[in-house]
């Protein structure tokens, strides 16, 4: 059992607070992804779990044991670095077995474990090569192999795919997911790429400026973001946000007027608003469509044709930038004025501080 729990964990470098109090529970066998923009503290948080950065205050438990002050080697974790951090002077098998050799594990045992890991990662034929003779993807696999042979309770990945080219990244993504299913270990994975987070995670932790914005499953974050930050960070292209005002409230229905005059009736489902509130209306690109029944007028600025779909970049009321995911064969061209539908069940409302008042009703 290797669940990881953080309680009010903080980190400061001198007077600068980098992690400002994080509470988090990562369950045994879970694939947890830390995601956030650069500088949000996600790597620092991972390094604190690894033991490479001291925890300024708070408590870290791994497998139920307090690990706050335990040196990295005794935490039962293995880490894969962004730069792979392979020892350049050692061959693939020496790299993978180095930790075991230093720990005086019997030779036969090392050989067995290295063989197992290199087979699993398709490195069998490359065992005598030096890291310099390997491609980026192969190096990454060696780094993962080095983690596997230690049989750790928790795997830590620090942006492991960001040095790979796009095609390889997609491939390694599926390989890592496969690896997680095979090993069933707890994995914590840091990335700034929300697609990696969405595709691999059981649980996503969105961080911003040293604080957790939201924790949840990928679809939960996608469809029920707690605030504007999460709403816009998860999803690509990002959620459209249009400034709006509450014009009237009748029972559980809010009548919201979007800049430019169109009026929408949105069910509040328990959310509280008052007449006159300034709010932001959020809706994802795939939930809007061009239709004669549309409620909002917008001008097409650019049509990005991706083949399977077309991204229409529009200028909405008051100049708000709007993106609509449309059919691959959509006929709209730049300069066209179109009407956009905004189904009430797909709309999110955020208050002036960016906190969600009501989320769409899709899940």
């Amino acid at each position: 059992m290797a669940e990881v729990s953080l309680q009010n964990v903080r980190k400061s470098f001198g007077a600068v607070d980098v992690i400002k109090g994080v509470d988090l529970q990562v369950n045994d066998g879970e694939f947890c992804v830390f995601v956030g923009p650069s500088g949000c503290g996600k790597s620092t948080l991972l390094r604190m779990i690894a033991g490479l950065e001291e925890i300024s205050s708070g408590e870290l438990k791994i497998g139920g044991k307090d690990m706050t002050k335990v040196p990295p080697s005794n935490r039962g974790v293995a880490m894969v670095f962004q730069s792979y951090a392979l020892y350049p002077h050692m061959s693939v098998e020496e790299n993978i077995g180095f930790g075991l050799k230093m720990a005086k594990v019997p030779k036969a045992d090392i050989e067995a474990r290295v063989a197992y890991a290199s087979k699993m990662l398709q490195l069998d034929t490359l065992r005598q090569r030096k890291p310099g003779q390997l491609s980026g993807g192969q190096r990454q696999r060696v780094a993962i192999g080095r983690a596997i042979v230690r049989e750790p309770g928790v795997f830590l990945f620090d942006e492991p795919l960001s040095n790979l080219d796009a095609a390889l990244r997609v491939q390694m993504r599926t390989e890592l997911s496969q690896l997680h299913q095979d090993l069933k270990s707890t994995m914590i994975y840091v990335t700034h790429d929300q697609i990696e987070a969405m595709t691999m995670a059981d649980k996503i932790v969105v961080l911003s400026a040293g604080l957790i914005e939201q924790v949840g499953s990928p679809l939960e974050l996608y469809h029920r973001p707690k605030n504007l930050f999460v709403a816009q960070f998860i999803g690509s292209p990002k959620m459209n946000v249009v400034p709006a005002k509450v014009a009237a409230v009748s029972g559980d229905i809010a009548h919201v007027s979007v800049d430019g005059g169109s009026m929408l009736a949105l069910p509040l489902r328990g959310g509280k608003v008052s007449v006159g509130d300034v709010v932001s209306l959020g809706i994802r690109p795939e939930h809007m469509s061009v239709s004669s029944e549309g409620v909002m007028q917008a001008t097409v600025k650019l049509a990005e044709r991706l083949g399977s779909e077309t991204m229409l970049h529009l200028s909405g009321p008051g100049g708000a930038a709007i993106i609509v995911r449309s059919d691959g064969l959509a006929s709209e061209k730049p300069g066209d004025v179109v009407a956009l539908t905004m189904p009430a069940g797909c709309c999110h409302l955020f208050d002036a501080a960016g906190i969600a008042i009501v989320n769409g009703a899709l899940i």
Partner: protein
């Protein structure tokens, strides 16, 4: 790239370059050539004032044998070898460890300590003459032994070498060391198995540089040593001066013998030597 490769310049520049280079090399080697010629002259030749002309007789064997019979040249060479090998080894060991600590450990005063190492390089060594001599006589009784020179060279060269090693190790990614640390490898083993193999090129370059520096030292050989038993070859050459008459042919022969080891080392490890001069100067 600067300077522009000679193949890419105009025809005139190329011709001038090709003509000037051999002349410059000849001019530069002329004194050395004269010394080599003198080392095989007879004393009569020199007395007659034949300093630059072709020697009337070639006294190669006689002169070079006499260097070893007239003075304890073999002993001087041995002293030089001992001093240089121990001092180079000591310097490399100390500077490698200090450089690693300064490059990769965060501790209070790291930068101050590093600054002191750098500042040490700016001290003109001549001002240390009297204090070092006093220390070697009164506090560390090594005066007039080879160990005085070993100790001094080790101490003095460590400053430059630490600066060099620190900057080299600084370029090594932290992740390498962190990866080893997470794997539970002790700090000493990280140094030995991860850091040392990777700084080998820098160590080789430094070894060649330091060998030359220390072997060629003359100043401290005069200051810290008085008797033949401890004298290295550079200072030992004066034993060949002759009592009433300067025996230039012997001094020349002795000088050439003294110059052989550094020249040999240079040619054997030329690659490292040049790497050492430009190491860290450019990004890869």
């Amino acid at each position: 790239m600067f300077p522009t490769a000679i193949e890419k310049t105009s025809k005139l520049t190329q011709t001038t370059y090709k003509a000037a280079l051999p002349i410059a090399v000849l001019l530069w080697l002329l004194p050395l050539f004269a010394v080599a010629l003198t080392s095989v002259r007879s004393i009569e030749d020199l007395n007659r004032g034949n300093f630059w002309g072709w020697p009337t007789s070639l006294n190669f064997v006689q002169n070079y044998t006499e260097v070893f019979t007239r003075s304890p040249m073999a002993l001087f060479m041995l002293n030089s070898v001992i001093i240089t090998l121990f001092a180079v080894a000591g310097t490399l060991i100390l500077s490698c460890m200090a450089g690693y600590a300064l490059a990769k450990y965060h501790f209070r005063g790291n930068l101050v300590l590093f600054s002191i190492f750098i500042a040490g390089n700016f001290v003109p060594f001549q001002i240390l003459m009297i204090p070092v001599r006093t220390i070697m006589i009164d506090w560390i009784p090594l005066y007039d032994t080879v160990w005085a020179l070993v100790l001094f060279h080790t101490a003095f060269q460590t400053g430059f070498c630490t600066l060099f090693m620190r900057n080299f190790i600084k370029q090594m990614p932290d992740a390498l060391i962190e990866a080893a640390r997470i794997e539970g490898i002790t700090e000493l083993k990280i140094f030995w198995h991860v850091v040392l193999p990777l700084v080998r090129p820098a160590l080789a370059a430094l070894a060649v540089l330091e060998f030359t520096f220390i072997w060629n030292d003359y100043f401290w050989s005069l200051v810290l040593v008085q008797s033949d038993e401890a004298r290295p070859v550079t200072a030992g050459l004066q034993a060949l001066k002759g009592q009433w008459l300067a025996s230039w042919q012997l001094i020349s022969a002795g000088s050439l013998i003294a110059a052989i080891p550094p020249v040999l080392i240079f040619f054997l490890m030329q690659r490292h030597f040049i790497a050492g001069l430009t190491l860290g100067a450019t990004k890869e």
